[in-house]
């Protein structure tokens, strides 16, 4: 898997980059890629999201083509944008969301935090609230946008919105869960290494010969 560390990049610039890479992948001119980065502070809102979840009227949110409602990105939050050919990997959006959750649950577990899924509330959760948010867009079965994991992020900007459209939704971070400092670079490194492994386990590229009733295909965790 092609993993690119973009460091800190403005949301708009990163969106333009995603758009360009997705266009290349759609026509078969580019490889599948995982972009890992941090954004300077910005609020974004999914295209189906409600402006009513911006509790502070002075906030401006970028409206984008992903699922989910409003969220916040800022320093200390690891953002991942997997650009994948889902058309060749199951064509199943729910399964893709469950895969992202699995990747995040395994990664935070390595730092000693226990997180889990909550059915109907995409993302990963702990007893203290939401640890990572997920919102995905798909164009011609190529994925864009992805996940945002609070590593050592300042959580106060979340109090000015209803994160993901859930009123009073508590938000937590890896540092808060572990009680010790967790360097973002380490989380980034681990998630970059693990991504391809979990991906192949959950969403292997389908072999067109492997169809029909004799096919034996394990489907982990479904």
């Amino acid at each position: 898997m092609n993993v690119t560390d973009l460091g800190v990049m403005e949301f708009g610039a990163a969106l333009a980059l995603q758009e360009r890479l997705v266009a290349e992948i759609v026509v078969g001119a580019g490889p599948e890629t995982l972009l890992l980065l941090e954004h300077p502070p910005v609020y974004t809102i999914g295209s189906g999201g409600s402006g009513a979840n911006l509790l502070d009227p002075t906030i401006e949110a970028v409206r984008i083509n992903r699922g989910g409602d409003v969220t916040f990105h800022g320093a200390g939050q690891l953002v991942g944008y997997p650009l994948l050919k889902l058309g060749e990997r199951s064509r199943d959006l729910h399964r893709y969301l469950r895969f992202l959750e699995e990747l995040l649950i395994l990664t935070v577990a390595d730092f000693g935090a226990r997180a889990w899924r909550v059915p109907g509330r995409t993302g990963i959760w702990t007893a203290n609230g939401k640890l990572a948010a997920i919102g995905v867009g798909v164009r011609r079965w190529v994925t864009m946008h992805g996940f945002a994991l609070n590593v050592n992020a300042d959580l106060t900007p979340f109090s000015r919105i209803n994160p993901c459209g859930i009123a009073g939704c508590p938000v937590t971070s890896l540092v808060r869960e572990c009680g010790v400092e967790v360097p973002l670079v380490e989380v980034k490194k681990l998630i970059g290494e693990r991504f391809g492994v979990v991906l192949e386990e959950w969403l292997p590229v389908e072999n067109s010969f492997m169809t029909g009733s004799h096919c034996q295909m394990p489907r982990p965790g479904k």
Partner: protein, 419 residues
């Protein structure tokens, strides 16, 4: 020829999708491959592209609305085309299907790619009127919609050309009727009425159960097969093992027996997908555990490789963790077959609902003393009734019967489980 745009199925587990927005408006020209709408399922949005060129003739849902997978949400056809042709033959849109080239589309296709066709918004494309189709002027589509909504066209004031009834007129009419009904109800409210019912919000578990069983019941054609099993020998075995210091419940024997029967008939350890059958190499058996607020189904994984003792200890551990709320997502997922036991409630037999994407579930009742005839004599026996619910897309009656016969054989000769 016009084509219908349907709510796409973007996941095996997707039953409905929400329309986020239309990227084209009615009357606007659409080229094959262009994005016409955005739909949402869970936290993922998909841009919906047109598989044929033409004019967007009609949209049937509005942003924010949910539509079941497969419902027609829009129609693309030739400019000014009568949507009449569509009504009897619902042309299902598929990726392979090339639209029959309309003159307009052909012209567009013939142009070099570098030339971008200017956008030609057509704010009001009305289907060409047809005379003598009834006293009220309306397209067949509007007629059909009116029928579906239970509206008499005579009562609707048309706002189209020559008093033609449009889709919007139907919607306006319906709203008006609703308001009238509401006013009527409010007027009645003056009288003291019964205590209002307070709706209880769904717990997360309730919502998850509701979603799962609805999907299952709506998509899986269930059928059931019941057998009566003499559990006398199995009970003896469990008692014997207990004396020898190994705690094994009848439930554990049941799990082991199911695992053995599934090894013989792997077709019951399978999932149905749109275009294939997946036979799971591993036997992961889910055990339905009832809780005050609902139920959880922890999964014992890899049962094909587990001894009766292993199954007993794992099942005890998982069930107690499910009851105490300390179970994690991994332990609740990955099941390939499930068992639900209501024997402890004095239930004789019942039918369970399949957990998608599994292909079958076994429902077992309690063990009761019943007279049976053995070698010409009436003797008491310990009878347990077991009912399998099977996905008929995967499993036929005879296959389910063979599986149940094998399960019966194993439980009535339980020594095989110790090997």
């Amino acid at each position: 020829m016009a084509t219908e745009i349907t709510m796409p199925k973007l996941s095996d587990t997707m039953t409905e999708g929400r329309l986020v927005s239309w990227k084209k408006s009615v009357g606007e020209r659409v080229e094959r491959g262009e994005i016409i709408a955005e739909v949402e399922t869970d936290k993922a949005n998909m841009e919906l592209e047109a598989f044929s060129s033409g004019v967007l003739l009609e949209t049937r849902i509005t942003p924010g609305e949910l539509a079941p997978v497969g419902t027609v949400i829009a129609i693309i056809g030739a400019e000014g085309e009568q949507v009449t042709a569509l009504v009897p033959v619902a042309a299902k849109i598929t990726e392979e299907m090339e639209p029959e080239a309309q003159p307009a589309a052909k012209a567009a296709a013939a142009e070099p790619i570098s030339i971008v066709e200017p956008e030609k918004p057509q704010p009001s494309v009305q289907p060409v009127s047809r005379e003598g189709f009834g006293a009220e002027k309306a397209s067949p589509l509007v007629r059909r919609l009116a029928r579906e909504m239970g509206i008499d066209l005579k009562e609707v004031k048309g706002s189209g050309p020559e008093g033609r009834v449009l889709k919007e007129d139907l919607e306006r009419h319906e709203k008006q009727v609703k308001v009238e009904v509401k006013v009527e109800r409010e007027a009645r409210k003056v009288e003291p009425s019964v205590q209002p019912t307070v709706p209880q919000p769904l717990s997360r578990m309730r919502a998850a159960i509701a979603r799962t069983v609805t999907t299952s019941w709506q998509t899986i054609p269930h059928f059931t097969v019941t057998v009566a099993i003499d559990m006398g020998e199995a009970e003896k075995l469990a008692r014997g093992m207990k004396k020898a210091g190994t705690r094994v419940s009848l439930n554990d024997l049941l799990i082991k027996a199911v695992a053995l029967a599934l090894q013989k008939y792997p077709q019951l350890n399978a999932s149905f997908t749109v275009d294939s059958i997946i036979i799971h190499p591993s036997i992961n058996i889910g055990i339905a555990v009832s809780l005050d607020e609902g139920l959880l189904v922890p999964v014992i994984k890899g049962c094909e490789a587990l001894s009766l003792k292993d199954i007993a200890s794992q099942s005890r551990e998982l069930i107690s963790r499910a009851r105490s709320g300390t179970i994690n997502a991994a332990e609740l997922s990955g099941g390939t077959f499930s068992i639900s036991n209501l024997g402890m409630f004095g239930v004789d037999q019942f039918m369970a609902v399949i957990f998608p994407p599994q292909g079958a579930i076994l429902a077992v009742g309690g063990v009761n003393d019943q007279p049976v005839v053995k070698k010409g004599e009436v003797v008491p026996a310990r009878i347990m009734k077991a009912t399998i619910s099977a996905d008929h897309r995967l499993i036929d009656g005879a296959m389910a019967a063979r599986f149940m016969g094998e399960l019966q054989k194993v439980l009535e000769n339980p020594v095989a489980m110790l090997v």
